[in-house]
C-alpha cells in the first residue's frame, strides 16, 4: 500500500455538509425585490429617487469601509456582506424625492454609523437602522422630510417630465438646495395617508378618472402602485423563504381587523376604511421589508405573529389618533423595542423559567 500522506487541510468538524443557504444571498434577494418598487417610484416621482439611493449607498460604503478599518477587519468583508447595503437601499426607498443632499447623508450616517455599527455591527442592533435614520429626519426636519418636491416645470415655467434630463436637473437642484425650479409638494410614502383620500385607489377603481393622468409620471396613483410593487416584492420574499409569513400576516391582519371592527366608532370617521389604511406605500413596505428584519424581530413563530400584531395595532392607533406623519416608522420601532421582552417570554414558554431567568 503506497498511499501518499493524507492532505491535512486544517481541522474539520461535523457536519461536513451544508445546505448552501447563505445570508448574503438572502440579503441580496431583499435588495433585488425592492427594485420593482424603486422603479415604479422613479417613474412617478422622478430621478431624484435614484439619486437618493445612489447617495445613500455611496455614503454607506464609505462608512462601512471606515468602520472596518477602525475594527481592523479585512475590507473584503465589505464585498461579502451586503447587509449594510440593504439598510442603504431601504433608506433610499423611504426618503422623499428632492430632499436636500445633506439630509440624505445625515440619515445614512445615523443609520449606518450610529444605529448599526455603534451597537456592534450586523446582528447586534436593537433598532432597524434605516428606520432610525428616517425617524431622526422626521423628528428634526419634519417639513423637509414630509415634502416630495417633484420637478414639473423648469426655470422658465415650461412643463417638463420628471424622467427627462430636465427632470434630473430639477431633482439635482432640489437636492443641492438651489431650487430655481418650482415643484409639486406632495406627501411621503411612509406618511399617514391623511392627505391622500381623494385621488386614491378607490377612486381609481370607481372609474371616471383620467387613467392616463393618474398613471403618467407625477400622477396621483403613484402611492398605490408603489404599494402594490412592495406587496409583489414581499410575496417574492415569502416564496423564496427569505422571510417568514408570520410578521407580515400579523401586521396586515391586525390592521385590517382593527379598521373593520372600529369602523362604526364615532370620531374615527375619516380614517376607518380598510383601503385608506392599505393604500399608500408605507404599510406594505413596513410589513414585508422593514418589520421582518430578523435581527430586530423575535424568534419563535408565535412571538413573530404577536410582534407583527403589535406593529399593526400601533400603526392603526398612530394613524387614526395621532397626527405624526411617521406613524408606520414609529410603530415598527416600537415593535423593535419590545422584541427582547417578547423573546424572553417566548423562550420561557419553550424552555420553562430556567431558560431566561424570568421569575
Amino acid at each position: 500500500m503506497t498511499a501518499p500522506p493524507l492532505p491535512q487541510p486544517g481541522f474539520h468538524c461535523s457536519p461536513h455538509q451544508h445546505s448552501g443557504t447563505d445570508s448574503g444571498a438572502m440579503m441580496r434577494l431583499v435588495i433585488y425585490f425592492c427594485l420593482p418598487a424603486v422603479a415604479v417610484s422613479t417613474w412617478f416621482f422622478g430621478i431624484g429617487i435614484l439619486l437618493n439611493l445612489l447617495l445613500a449607498v455611496l455614503v454607506t460604503l464609505a462608512l462601512e469601509a471606515a468602520t472596518l478599518a477602525l475594527r481592523r477587519r479585512s475590507w473584503r468583508t465589505l464585498l461579502r456582506d451586503p447587509s449594510a447595503l440593504v439598510s442603504a437601499v431601504l433608506l433610499g426607498c423611504v426618503l422623499p424625492q428632492g430632499i436636500a443632499w445633506w439630509l440624505v447623508v445625515t440619515a445614512t450616517f445615523v443609520a449606518n454609523a450610529v444605529a448599526r455599527n455603534c451597537y456592534g455591527g450586523l446582528g447586534q442592533n436593537l433598532f432597524n437602522p434605516a428606520l432610525c435614520g428616517y425617524a431622526l429626519l422626521l423628528l428634526l426636519f419634519p417639513s423637509q422630510t414630509a415634502n416630495w418636491q417633484i420637478p414639473l416645470t423648469d426655470s422658465s415655467g415650461n412643463g417638463i417630465s420628471p424622467l427627462s434630463m430636465a427632470g434630473l436637473a430639477g431633482s439635482l437642484n432640489f437636492m443641492l438646495d438651489t431650487a430655481s425650479t418650482t415643484g409639486l409638494n406632495t406627501v411621503t410614502p411612509l406618511l399617514a395617508q391623511h392627505q391622500l383620500g381623494n385621488d386614491s385607489l378607490s377612486a381609481l377603481l370607481a372609474g371616471g378618472t383620467d387613467w392616463v393622468r393618474l398613471l403618467s409620471p407625477g400622477g396621483k396613483a403613484g402611492q398605490e402602485l408603489i404599494g402594490v410593487a412592495y406587496l409583489a416584492g414581499g410575496m417574492l420574499l415569502l416564496v423564496r423563504r427569505v422571510i417568514g409569513w408570520q410578521v407580515p400576516l400579523g401586521v396586515l391582519a391586525t390592521l385590517i381587523a382593527a379598521s373593520l371592527t372600529l369602523a362604526p366608532v364615532e370620531g374615527l370617521a375619516p380614517f376607518t376604511s380598510v383601503s385608506l389604511h392599505l393604500a399608500g406605500t408605507g404599510v406594505f413596505l413596513a410589513a414585508f421589508f422593514l418589520a421582518t428584519d430578523p435581527v430586530t424581530s423575535p424568534t419563535t413563530p408565535w412571538s413573530k405573529f404577536f410582534y407583527g400584531s403589535i406593529i399593526g395595532a400601533a400603526i392603526y392607533s398612530l394613524q387614526t389618533l395621532g397626527n405624526s406623519p411617521g406613524a408606520i416608522t414609529f410603530a415598527v420601532l416600537l415593535g423593535n423595542l419590545l422584541t427582547p421582552l417578547i423573546d424572553k417570554i417566548a423562550i420561557t414558554g419553550a424552555c420553562g423559567n430556567k431558560g431566561t431567568g424570568l421569575p
Binding site: 445546505s19 419563535t300 424552555c351 420553562g352
Partner: protein
Amino acid sequence: MKLLFSNPVSFAAAARRHRGINPPDHKQASLRSVLMDMPLPRLLYFPLCLTGKEPAYPLVKPGYSVLKGQLLAASTDGNDNLVHASTSGRIVALASHPRPDPFGSNGETLILEADGEDRWIALHPATDWQTLPATEIRSRICRAGIDERNDCGLSRWNHARQPEILIINALETEPYLTADQALIRSHAKELLTGAGILQLACGALRCIIAITSEKSDAIAALYTALQESGQQAGIEVMVLPPRYPITDRQLIDAVTGGRVPVEQPESERGAVLADVTTTMAVRDAVIDGRPMLSRVTTVCGNTLRTPKNFRALLGTPVGFLLELCGIDYQNLDRLVMGGSLTGFTLHSFDVPIVKSSTCVIAAAAGEFPAPVTAGPCIRCDACVPSCPVGLLPQNLYQAVKNERQDLMTGLRLDDCIECGACAYVCPDHIPLVQYFRAGKAVLSREARQIELSEYRSKRFEARRQRLARDTAMRRGSRRRSVARPENPDIQDSGLKTFSRTRAREEIAAAVARVQQRRRNAGKATARPRDPDQDGRS
C-alpha cells in the same frame, strides 16, 4: 405479519413531529453493488482505549499466536470493551497507533499479523435457540462483545420494568450511510431471527423494525422474509418518512404514539432499542456462538471508483478498504469516519475499523464545502425548526458565546445530540455544533468543580468537627480533673497538677540518664557525636 404503513393523516403528523432536515441523498453510489466480503489484510489493529468506553487490558503478549475469535483484551471487570481476534495469526506488537477518534490521537493498540489460515477457536453453536433460557442468551450476548450504541439499548435489560416493545432501529438517516440497508437487502431473514432472539432475551411483547420509506428494496426484502417465516409472530415493520435525524426519543414517540416527556428518560417508556448491526451480531452470537468479529461498513465518496458496502473485519485499516474500492489519492480532500453530518475526520489511513465504524467517506475536492468564515448570527431562525430535540440553537449559541452557564442549563444544552442539523442549515455558516461541544465541556467542568468543592467542603467540615470533638474531649478531661481533685486515682498517677519545677527536674534527670547511657555506649564504639543532637534526644 403486519406491515405498518401509517395512514396519510398520521404520516403527516409523524412528519411534523419529525423535525429536522432533508439533506440530499448520496446513498445510490454505494448501493449499486451487493454486500461484499473482503480479503484478509496483512496487519490488523485492535485499539484498547476507545472514546466513551472502559479501557481494555491485554490478555496476550507480543509473540503469542492467537486463533480467530480468541479474546485478546477486556476491561478489568471483563464485561465491557471485549476485544476478539478477527482472524488467526500472531500478535506482533503492543504499540501506539492511530485510533478512530475525533482528535486524531494515537493509543495503545494490539497489532495482529494474519497467518491467512483463518483458524477458529472451538465454537459452541446452539441450533435450537427457542429453547434456550433468557439468561443463557444474555450471557452469550455479553460474551460476544457486542457494542451497545445507545443508552436505552441493551444495557437497560436489567431495568426493573419489563420492556413492552423492542424497536430495531433501521432508519439510517445519514445521507451517505447504506450499511443497514445493504445488510437488510441480503440478510433480512437473519435480521428477523436476531430480532426474535432479542425479543426472547428481553421479554418484550412486541417487536417493531423501524425503517425509512426511501429504502424500498430493504422494505421489500423484510416483507418477503416475514411472509416466508410464518412463525415470526409479533414482528412488525414500521415505515417512517425520511428525515435527518430521527432521535431515539422521536422514534419511541412514533412507535408508541405518545410523547416522551422531557423529564422522563427514554428507557422508562418500556421500549428497548437496538440497531441492525447489533441485532445481526446477536444472531451470530447466540446461534453460532461467534463473537462480533466484523461489521458492515459503507465505503464511499467521490474519490472511489466503486463505492460499496463491506463486511469488514474489525481491525482492518481504513486504507485497505479504500484501496479495494479503487481510491484516487490525487483527488482526496478529506477522509471522514462516520456519516457526513456526525462523522469526524481521520488523519491516517491506518486507523482501524472498530465496532462503531458505520461508514468511511473518502471525499473528493469540492464534495464537502470548504470551511467558510462564520458571519455574525442574524437570528434568522433557520436553526429552530431544524433541531430534532426542540432546542433553540441560536439562543444556546448566544449563551455559550457569552459564557452564561445559567442560560446553558436553562436552555437544556445537555439535551443536544450534536446531530449537526442546525449547523447544516445556518446561512451564516456558524459552526454551532462546535460551540455546543465547547459549552458542554464548560458545563461538565463546572459540574466537576462543584462536585470536587462539595467533597472538599464535606471533608473540611468533618475535620473541623473531629478537631472540635478532640479539643472538647481534652478540655473535658482536664476540667474533670480540675473539678475533682479529690479523686485519688488521678492524684496517684501524678497528673493532678502541672508543676514547672517538677517538670524541669524530671527533664534534667532524663537527660542525665541518657548521657550516662551514651557515655557507656561511646566507650564501646568510640563514635564522635553531635552535642546538639544529644541534648535533643
